[in-house]
């Protein structure tokens, strides 16, 4: 089957439900393996940092979470663009399902960032450039979710969310740049530069593994959520009744 035809089949709700259903178990398995490897090498096997000792280990959760929080927003915006231009409902499902996941990653990045900073700065919060950017990103996610929830008509909510996501994605680099600028203005260096350009290879590998683990985790969860949302949205159609009735 040609690439276009395959994609077209995927975009049909019924086939997406089935195909995604087949991928989920495999993705879950890969995800678990990656997490085990990543957490073991990161939290246990890799050497402690010469400056921060063992507290550096929280970086193996914080940094990938921050990467993903941004990655998911970009995916959300890309799916929104696809939805607006080609009206493919699947794209909207992906955007809708991704938002809470991205918000959770953002929250995780904030929480782990706070935990990381506590032993060093003795406060639960530091107005660091990275953390402040993440906080604003959280507001962008919450705004998206709030807007979609507030509009009753499902299609209007989808289109409004799509516009908002695109406006947001244009603003994310601007916000990030301005906050970084603001942070360097008011603070000399930041505590989280430990994973900067001088990162050691023994630290790099667990980071990448964790990053990959988080990515696969996102893919798994987004498929699960999208399937559930699809059942809800198409609950009146015949194929959903078949799915529900079948053993």
């Amino acid at each position: 089957m040609s690439m276009w035809a395959w994609f077209h089949r995927l975009a049909s709700p019924k086939h997406f439900y089935r195909i995604a259903g087949r991928w989920i178990p495999w993705l879950t398995a890969v995800c678990v393996v990656l997490f085990v490897v990543g957490l073991y090498t990161g939290l246990y096997a890799s050497p402690p940092d010469y400056q921060q000792g063992d507290t550096i280990r929280i970086m193996y959760v914080h940094v990938p979470a921050a990467w993903l929080s941004l990655f998911v927003y970009v995916v959300m915006a890309g799916a929104s663009a696809v939805y607006l231009i080609w009206r493919i409902k699947l794209a909207d499902l992906v955007a809708l399902s991704s938002a809470p996941i991205g918000a959770s990653f953002t929250f995780l990045a904030l929480a782990t960032g706070s935990l990381w900073g506590k032993p060093i700065w003795f406060t639960w919060w530091v107005w660091d450039g990275r953390l402040t950017s993440e906080l604003i990103l959280l507001f962008l996610y919450l705004g998206y979710m709030g807007l979609r929830a507030a509009i009753d008509d499902r299609r209007s909510a989808a289109r409004a969310g799509a516009v908002l996501a695109l406006v947001g994605v244009v603003n994310v680099p601007i916000i990030h740049y301005s906050v970084e600028w603001w942070a360097t203005l008011h603070q000399g260096s930041t505590v989280f530069r430990a994973e900067g350009p001088a990162i050691h290879p023994s630290q790099l590998l667990p980071l990448l593994v964790m990053g990959l683990a988080f990515t696969v985790f996102y893919l798994t969860i987004v498929l699960i959520r999208a399937r559930a949302e699809l059942l809800l949205q198409e609950r009146r159609s015949a194929w959903v009744r078949e799915v529900i009735d079948s053993p």
Binding site: F139, L142, I151, V163, N171, Y177, L185
Partner: protein
């Protein structure tokens, strides 16, 4: 094509004039919010001087946010917005006219009032021209970006708080550069970098904002 733009601009200014008792609201809000800070932090002049730049801009930003409600709601409810969306003129162009009228009515008074209020917080005179320049560059961006949020929520009955949640994160860059410029000017430092960034943001907002706003208005009308 310019006829529609001019007609809507004139219409909105005329309507604002006929509701002129409401024109004073953003300015009053600006003053009241500003007054809250000395009340909360104590009247010590050196403290106030230290926070003056930031407080002035936060107050102006909140006043701009509050005045967004008036941008599309009336036209949405009485059907005038529909007629604009169905006219032979591009909706994005008519949006620019509306945003311009809105800025003239709510933003310009803030610019005019700011130097007077800056005195209340003992902002050094050297910073006053920069204060007005940042407001001149920044308040149009607040109107243009706010218009997008307003367009997305105009169909909602209780959209006010959601509007703030949508718009405030987008206001952060302008706030950072503007407040920094005013604070630096008060210390006698160069502010070229910040002003350049603000100019760039204005250009971006002007080129992309009306298109996004028009798209959002059509979505709200189609609900």
């Amino acid at each position: 094509m310019l006829r529609g733009f001019v007609a809507i601009l004139r219409r909105d200014l005329l309507l604002a004039f006929r509701h002129r008792s409401e024109l004073v609201n953003p300015m009053m809000f600006f003053v009241i919010v500003l007054t809250l800070f000395p009340l909360a932090l104590g009247p010590d002049a050196s403290t106030l001087r230290g926070i003056a730049a930031g407080v002035l801009w936060v107050a102006a930003l909140l006043a701009a946010l509050l005045s967004l409600e008036g941008m599309f709601r009336s036209d949405f409810e009485d059907g005038a917005l529909e007629q604009m969306a169905l006219s032979s003129q591009p909706l994005a162009l008519l949006v620019v006219a509306k945003v311009l009228a809105h800025w003239l009515v709510t933003g310009v008074p803030l610019i005019v009032l700011a130097p007077v209020l800056a005195v209340l917080l003992d902002l050094p005179a050297a910073a006053l021209p920069v204060l007005m320049l940042t407001l001149l560059l920044g308040t149009p961006v607040l109107s243009l970006v706010g218009a997008i949020g307003m367009a997305l929520t105009v169909g909602l009955r209780r959209g006010g708080l959601l509007l703030s949640l949508l718009v405030l994160p987008l206001y952060v860059p302008i706030l950072i550069f503007a407040a920094s410029a005013v604070a630096d000017a008060a210390l006698g430092l160069q502010v070229g970098a910040q002003l350049n960034m603000m100019g760039a943001l204005l250009a971006l907002a002007l080129s992309l904002g009306p298109i996004a706003t028009a798209a959002a208005l059509r979505i709200s009308l189609g609900a």
